[in-house]
Amino acid sequence: YSIFPGNSGWRKSELTYRIVNYTPDMAAAEVDAAIQRAFQVWSDVTPLTFTRIYNSVADIEISFAAQVHNDFYPFDGPHGTLAHAFAPNNGIGGDAHFDEDETWTSGSRGYNLFLVAAHEFGHSLGLFHSSDPSALMYPTYHFIEPSEFHLPDDDVRGIQSLYGAREVPEVPMVPEQPSTPSSCQPITFDAVTTLRGEILFFTNKTFWRQISQESQAEHHLIKTFWDALPNHIQAAYEYQDKDQVLVFKGAKYWVINGYEVTKDSPKSIYDLGFPRTVRRVDAAVHDENTGKTYFFVGDKFWSFDEKKQAMDSVTPKKIIDGLPGVGSKVHAAFQKNGLLYFFDGHRQYEFNAAKKRVTRVLKSNSWLKC
């Protein structure tokens, strides 16, 4: 991360914001929600509070405009520059401007206002751009499902270097009420992998461990087993030839040998041959039959030759072209008994690579003995 030289941020922690106008691309309520959520990204990890005001000038004024718009930085039409914001100060300081020539959305078709606003408010609070490709303050845009968004560690360190951490009020521990293991409710896994015959299902800070077909799944904190791993991992796969599991988050990956995380972790995904425009891996699976590892990014997949340790030049390919019937996105995958299993939301597709087709559609938690 980096901060503005000579600008240590706002000298107060209660800040105000005003939405000066709206984009016609979204309902006003959607814009309100996206902006409020984007401020919450920063208030969740600092003592800062953000109060919306309506009838007077706020610390952070938010507006939509196109081309020249009464500052020295005209916008440039569709794409290219999406938005900009000004460092903490009086007047225009802290304000955030969004290019009305873009298509704004609360989904993924167009530019997601929540994601862009969260980045711009980082500037409004005193953060500069980060060169960490996993960081929110990285200059280029890439879509993340807002419900899966977690402020990356680099940004947390940056904003807390300016404002400190948020004091979390002591909450008396309430003994957890016994309830149906939450693995039996519809669930979306962050990542799934095998490990020496077991299957691990990762979600948020925990994972379910399916030791065998007959046993009840165990539920553990990730850090209980591998303290060096981050929470909210995004992809994982086992490469049995080396008795390794590779775990991905952002533009980094960690190598696990059983209970050990190797000393030279984390490594950069760009060492595997990804272009710099890739900022994260959504899913990964090694196919023992072909010796290839498949990496899923957005609506495409790359195939990696483990023997040559290089990406196959025929990829990336569209998921819908290479894996008919699996859909356009994959956010977790693993292989068991020669079959590939791809997860999308609460669904799981069993795929027979030899026949090149889906053989079953299952619930995502079908392996967890519900």
Partner: protein, 81 residues
């Protein structure tokens, strides 16, 4: 990448110059600078951008550099004031 036509490279150079002015404080203050001087200045700014994004630092507009320059992004500078 198909071999660039002279026109491609002219367009790329223009696009890149605009990009470097916006985000890397490239100064072309309108006065026609010596071709040699402005060339080395642009090459230096390309190196700065390649270094920031972890690209191979060549000082030239290779395909990875052009692809990164075409990514939608924030309007704030990456280095400097």
């Amino acid at each position: 990448f198909p071999a660039e036509t002279p026109q491609d490279s002219e367009e790329n150079a223009k696009f890149a110059e605009e990009y470097l002015k916006n985000y890397y404080n490239l100064k072309t203050d309108g006065v026609r600078q010596g071709r040699k001087k402005s060339g080395s200045q642009i090459s230096e700014k390309i190196r700065q951008m390649q270094d920031f994004f972890g690209l191979e630092v060549t000082g030239r507009l290779d395909s990875d550099t052009m692809e990164m320059m075409h990514q939608p992004r924030c309007g704030f500078v990456d280095v400097g004031e």
